[in-house]
Symmetry: C2
Subunit: 243 residues, 2 copies
């Protein structure tokens, strides 16, 4: 069994042009939403609820949930935390439900909801994710969250890493999948150096969160695959049926 | 003098997210609209009027204009020709005004109209275009026409060729410009081979227009720069003022 095709959507603004029938969508927001969500679920968070707007996030206050909000790379005033992975440690999140809104990542997740399944990818869970995707007899759409609807390097390079691991002679790739794989092959020898030219890396360096960048580029730190179940992201288990 | 920044817009659907103030837009539709338009103006066409819809194109019938229409890679029934460069020879177009509608290219041109200037790029005019752009003290936005709002390889690789020739230490590049240049550097040794995996190449091979592909990948066949002047594309001359 292998995927039917692998396509890469380079910006959430392009999602309306993709069929999502018979498709597993993999949402990618390396710096930092999907990396932190993988880490949070691995550290025992019960679920993560992605919401688009700050007001919706605030409406969950008082339910015992943790409220997380990031805009323009920074924690929004009045919220428990943003999307730094260092906020998603076991001490902070075990047993908790987190409600999260970020600039790019949560919006991309919401817009994929009509796919057969929506899962999250990051370098932190790349091998467990790849092994699972290899056995899916569906189309795969890799959705780069980008930055404010623009293309970004880090999400595309990670999409290319997945293409590189998943492609076989029988799997159709679209042009964006070919391009993403080319970029990954160029970057793979020294990801951190290659991505240091990315605009978002520069933005994060400016915000003094270089530790976050290094953390998010580590491979195989966790063995969970976050999957959208209704309106919540939970850990995929073997007993979890695809929708 | 050099450009202030170079950005690459990977799909016309992403144009709403770009500022076009103080910007020269370079529209790129390698297979085949901008290649053929460069060739047609070099062969003495008086002007080319890009229009979005077939009906608008037909409304010019009876003015002595040549009417050209392509949809899904093929000439539309009832029109003089489509966007194969071999239809834009001196014998056919000298002194004529051509009204052209294509799947992707003319739409991208229309959507850039609010830029300071809109010019067309192709491998056929790459050196004259690059030499002109090097002396422009504006931002440069390279607009890939793509395929039905999707990313495509050939337009992006050409954008990367321009980035490669234009960048200096003082010019800011966005992430898409970095990526396009990476792809160009990988492809430049054998463009035809690299682009043979592009979906549009496959589409054109299927339509038996492989000669068109080879033609459009030739560098420096013409010395014109098509520029949008009102609603017409004409040859840029040194006396032509920027809008």
């Amino acid at each position: 069994m292998s995927p039917k095709s692998i396509r890469v959507c380079l910006s959430p603004a392009l999602l309306p042009f993709y069929e999502l029938d018979d498709t597993i969508a993999v949402v990618i927001d390396i710096f930092r939403a999907t990396s932190s969500m993988c880490y949070g679920l691995a550290n025992g968070a019960r679920a993560i609820i992605p919401v688009e707007e700050l007001e919706e996030c605030l409406s969950y206050r008082g339910n015992g949930h943790l409220l997380a909000a990031e805009r323009d790379g920074q924690v929004v005033a009045g919220f428990d935390f943003g999307n730094s992975p260092f906020s998603y440690t076991r001490e902070k999140v075990a047993g908790k439900t987190i409600v999260l809104t970020t600039t790019n990542g949560t919006r991309a997740i919401q817009r994929c909801a009509r796919a057969n399944a929506v899962v999250l990818g990051s370098f932190l869970n790349i091998t467990v994710l790849t092994d699972w995707l290899k056995n899916q007899p569906h189309h795969i759409l890799l959705v780069c969250a980008g930055w404010k609807n623009h293309f970004n390097l880090e999400d595309t390079v990670f999409a290319g890493a997945l293409v590189h691991r998943l492609k076989t002679a029988d799997v159709d790739l679209d042009d964006a999948a070919h391009a993403a794989e080319s970029l990954y092959r160029e970057a793979q020898g020294d990801l951190a150096s290659y991505l240091s030219k990315a605009s978002h890396s520069k933005r994060m360096q400016h915000l003094h969160i270089t530790q976050d960048i290094a953390f998010c580029l580590q491979q195989d730190q966790v063995s969970v695959i976050p999957i959208l179940n209704g309106y919540e992201l939970v850990s995929l288990t073997l007993s979890h049926p695809l929708q």
